[in-house]
């Protein structure tokens, strides 16, 4: 593999761009699941069939149809190291499932890493578009365009009644998963978070941690996404998510103002303590790091802390993950070595900032 830029930079280029409401919403993501009509799904495909599906889909990329989107290199998962795969997972560019068990798996990566196209994951084709801040509608329009380009070149499995057919019945119909990554520290500090998240699940949305299904919410980061894919149109799904996320943003902002008005000295103390620990700690585990980084991010957005930028915090979110730490260190690390490397990474990044 000639090009490894994706594993060198912790922060994807798209994350450096400005976006609306970035003080609460880190990113917006659309994922579209599609399958080819004439091949069994990856689960039941023989190695030859999996390879056949891969070749058809890579054929679309090589035909130049995608060239309007910029340079889109394709990587076969079999040519990557375990650590490189882990780094891609930590950057949200591939799913743990593709990294783990796929046969004839591949990744097509857009120029800003804002497009990642997975081949032979649970479905033959998964198109993912990422946008900074709260831009879920923009993300859908872009992803839908890429979907149209693929459809010109391959025959999709589509049913008149059930819509786009997917391996898992929870994706059938539109095949889309729309999600926004939200930072909700003030709702957590004021004890309102559980009430709000429970309400969210009652309107057909799901809440997950930073790394999707099965991951724990750390650092007050929550991924809110649609649950239903059948019986609603894409725009209904996206409007629903949009209006719920809008309300959560408003609640979070109100809670931040209340924190400042009612308990400023205590909040300020908490934020500055966390900043101090990040600046001087010698050993820090990932859970503590993400909690402290969340405090500092809140401090930045409350205007209580100015010596650190949002870009740096976004970068540290990825560069302090185990895979990235080890990739950069060039070898596997024990738990304690990892916690020390993590502390060093944060220290030197924050020192550069001041």
């Amino acid at each position: 593999m000639a090009n490894h830029t994706f594993s060198e930079q912790a922060l994807s280029p798209w994350m450096r761009k400005p976006g609306p409401d970035t003080d609460v919403v880190l990113s917006s993501r659309i994922r579209i699941a599609r399958n080819l009509r004439s091949f069994p799904f990856p689960l039941m495909a023989t190695p030859e069939q999996a390879e056949g599906a891969l070749e058809q889909l890579l054929g679309v990329a090589e035909s130049g149809r995608l060239s309007g989107l910029g340079e889109m290199p394709a990587y076969r998962l079999s040519e990557m190291t375990e650590l490189e795969k882990l780094v891609l997972v930590e950057k949200h560019l591939i799913s743990p499932a593709l990294a783990g068990q796929s046969r004839s798996g591949a990744l097509i990566l857009g120029p800003d890493e804002n497009i990642s196209i997975m081949i032979n994951e649970e479905d033959h084709l998964r198109i993912q578009c990422l946008y900074p801040g709260f831009q879920i509608r923009e993300a859908w329009e872009f992803a839908s365009k890429i979907d149209d380009i693929f459809e010109e070149g391959v025959d999709y499995a589509f049913d008149e009644k059930y819509g786009y057919l997917t391996s898992c019945p929870t994706n059938v119909g539109t095949g889309i998963r729309a999600s926004v990554m939200m930072h909700l520290p003030a709702l957590a500090l004021t004890g309102q978070i559980n009430r709000i998240l429970t309400a969210v699940t009652q309107v057909g949305l799901a809440v997950r941690g930073l790394y999707g299904e099965g991951s724990e919410a750390t650092g007050n980061l929550f991924q809110v996404s649609n649950q239903l894919t059948l019986g609603l149109s894409e725009s209904e799904i996206i409007d629903n998510l949009y209006s719920v996320a809008r309300q959560i943003i408003a609640h979070e902002k109100a809670a931040r103002e209340r924190l400042l008005a009612e308990s400023r000295p205590r909040v300020e103390d908490r934020i500055l303590r966390s900043y101090g620990i990040l600046k001087y700690a010698n050993i820090i585990d990932s859970k503590e790091a993400s909690q402290r980084l969340s405090d500092v991010r809140l401090g930045l957005h409350l205007g209580l802390l100015t010596d650190v930028s949002q870009e740096t915090l976004n970068e540290l979110l990825v560069s302090t993950q185990p895979g990235f730490l080890q990739q950069h260190h060039g070898e596997a690390l024990s738990a304690e070595q990892r916690d020390m490397t993590r502390a060093r990474t944060i220290r030197s990044r924050l020192a550069n900032e001041a």
Binding site: D155, A157, K161, L228, L232, E234, P322, S334
Partner: protein
Amino acid sequence: MQCQECGKRQATLHFTKIINGEKTELHICESCARERGELIPGTASGFSIHNLLSGLLDFDAAANGVKPPQLRCENCGMTYSQFSKLGKFGCSQCYKHFADRLEPLLKRVHGNTVHVGKIPKRAGGRVKTKREIDRLKKEMQGKIEREDFETAARLRDQIRELEREIGS
């Protein structure tokens, strides 16, 4: 036993690896296992949506105490019991072969069984026309109620034309 990685927490996961007769053991706590990610088999995902789903799939049978007939997809060879274990279809034809049991499942998961979203340009031509016919029929009904029979007649011809196109 303490975790070999952090030396702090109780080890709750125990692995034995034998490669070429050489045996290595690993005793590790859950949080270290999670950090190591997919380097360790079986810890990548805990309880997932698929576990839940397979519970739903056998719901009817479990409730009635009836053993379901062994359905099998002729295209990919997946059996219904395989499907209900994995919670995933094997190919697009599975949707046809398991159709009878699909409706209640989709109803339970999505509250609905009919797709109303995007339609692919090439594969979905027929569906697009069908939706257009439905739309025109509704419009025609409205015109009739308002006694605008001239427009209604024009819409009727349009509908007939489209119906001929898709041969229904």
